[in-house]
Amino acid sequence: MSAKLERLCQKLREVFGDRIGEPAISYGEVTVMVLAANYRDVAVTLRDHPELRFEQLTDLSGIDYSTAAGRAGGPRFAAVSHLLSVTHNWRLRLRVYATDDASPTLPTMTGVWRGANWYEREAYDMYGIVFEGHPDLRRILTDYGFVGHPFRKDFPISGYVEMRYDPEQQRVVYQPVTIEPREVTPRIVREAHYGKAGGRG
């Protein structure tokens, strides 16, 4: 398997040169970084190049890196796609950062893989990443009239508003949330080798 991945990395280097970051192999998966400016060109080549042939976009999702442990600067938002080549039977992860943290913007992939349509709508809905050139960039999963982007790390898990039926007005009303935020298990990052034999603690 790893020989095959090496071959894929070699191909990627040959075809793209410095248009993409250095392909990295970890956990038997290849990850490639690309700049937003080259994103579309690289995607088209990935799809059409006979030795790459990533015909399918398996998945595309947003991510917010703002609170990751050990993160040293860098852009906050990224769109990560998982590509699949049915012809060559290999997968690739493509990561593109949105450089502007305040209004993240990326080019759309809907012209390359039509399946990107809803995935980009979801990333827009959840993270507020705007995909330029998307034909129909509406919210998809959240409620009609929802405010904010819920999967951002600064959005509380309990949200800002709750909904209830108001018997006096005889309709459903929105009001600020009444539940207190709580954390049952705190988030803990231990030092490397924590709990391993020979280590301390």
Partner: protein, 417 residues
């Protein structure tokens, strides 16, 4: 002459043929669909966000609630992702159990799909037949995990417990007399494996019954042949997977092409369609019944001969046995730490995709080394398939929309996450 305008029709969110809470805004030109705009998210529970606030183990039961007709397959993808990050070895017996339960789940899922799809487009009887078999398999679910639906049976590192020695039996009550109970218990005298084996022997005859009911049924063919045709190129472009992709004639199955667990030791075939319409996809699913049945048989045979552990003995990942925990201080600490703080997963990111009954179910897990996931992205097959609803139903009659919703095997829990 009066001007004729297209009009909009609201289909759902509460409609029996919408398979859950799907709201469909249809723009109609007479009875012909001009544009279909699915509004989803009515069942959105923010599973991915919830996962970020739960430990790696606490997240697992949420996966059951995604596609609530193929529970164990959802868990499977998640467990594979976590195991890949942790580098844990899963005992071989657990791998066989997982493969067997995955295939049982596939049969369960397709039984529901074919039953309700037929129900939606007018064949009332079908669902009565498929639910008869679902009942048996649901009993297997209950016997191994204690729950008929939300099993939480797969755990990172293996499965929660070994298959029980005794299949639960019916008892006499005021609704079931002696004779009935005796008949119902005939297959339940032995272990769960005996019951499953008995089922696999009976099942091909049941599939033959479904074929008799539907395959050459004139009305069924009128409603499905040539409806919702997807070309192979379009199927790839639209991120299709599973039976939807195979129905269009692309021989792609993760179990064969990128085998996980012990699928590489299994002997089975991949059915593919030729026309890419609803009828071909139906035939693909019907054939998958028999192929799954074959895999289950092979697993039962292996599992009978090879006892062994079913979960890893790495107590940073899986709890020690109750017995060990009560007699040994170290095991007690392990148990306590695992269930309070949880396991620590090394930093990194992995994607684990499995051949879920509906298509490819993938989990993209990002860890920053904490006891909770940093980001979990669930790639659900139904989401990509529903996104193509507009393209598939354009130009068809409104009644065909129901047939297309049936064929994409829609479960909104999976689509909305």
């Amino acid at each position: 002459m009066a001007e004729i305008k297209n009009y909009h029709l609201n289909f759902g969110p509460q409609h029996p043929a919408a398979h859950g809470v799907l709201r469909l805004v249809l723009e109609l030109d007479g009875e012909v669909v001009a544009h279909a705009d699915p509004h989803i998210g009515l069942l959105h529970r923010g599973t991915e966000k919830l996962a970020e606030t739960r430990t790696w183990l606490q997240t697992l039961p949420y996966l059951d609630r995604l596609d609530y007709v193929s529970m164990m397959c959802n868990e499977h993808a998640y467990c594979l992702a976590v195991e890949k990050l942790l580098g844990v070895q899963v005992p071989i017996r657990a791998q066989y159990i997982r493969v067997m339960m995955d295939e049982i789940t596939r049969i369960l899922n397709h039984l529901l799909n074919i039953g309700t799809h037929a129900l939606d487009i007018g064949a009332m009887t079908m669902v009565l037949y498929t639910f008869r078999e679902r009942e048996d398999l649901m009993d297997v679910y209950e016997a191994v995990s204690g729950a008929r639906l939300h099993a939480a049976y797969y755990r990172p590192g293996g499965v929660y417990r070994d298959l029980p020695e005794q299949m639960p039996q019916y008892r006499v009550n005021r609704f079931k007399n002696d004779a009935t109970v005796k008949r119902l218990n005939a297959a339940r005298e032995g272990s769960v494996l005996d019951f499953i084996e008995d089922f696999t022997n009976r099942f091909p005859a049941y599939v033959a019954e479904y074929h008799t009911l539907l395959t050459d049924n004139r009305i069924w063919k009128q409603r499905t042949v040539g409806v919702g045709v997807v070309s192979p190129e379009d199927a790839l472009q639209l991120s299709f997977s599973g039976p939807m992709l195979r129905g269009s004639g692309i021989a792609w199955d993760v179990r064969k092409k990128q085998p996980y667990e012990v699928y590489d030791r299994m002997d089975f075939d991949i059915p593919i369609g030729t026309n890419g319409d609803c009828y071909d996809r139906y035939l693909v699913r019907m054939e998958e019944f028999l192929q799954s049945n074959r895999i289950i048989k092979q697993c039962v045979e292996w599992l009978r001969k090879n006892p062994g552990p079913v979960i890893t003995d790495d107590h940073k990942v899986a709890p020690p046995s109750r017995e060990a925990m009560k007699g040994n201080m170290e095991e007690l600490i392990h148990h306590f730490k695992l269930f309070t703080e949880g396991m620590h997963v090394p930093p990194g990111e992995v994607y684990a995709g499995i051949e879920h009954p509906k298509g490819e179910f993938g989990v993209w897990a990002v860890s920053d080394g904490a006891n909770k996931p940093y980001r979990i992205k669930l790639r659900s097959p139904g989401f990509a398939h529903l996104a193509a609803l507009n393209e598939m139903s354009k130009g068809h009659m409104i009644a065909d929309v129901t047939a297309i919703i049936g064929t994409i095997d829609l479960v909104l829990g999976d689509t909305d996450r």
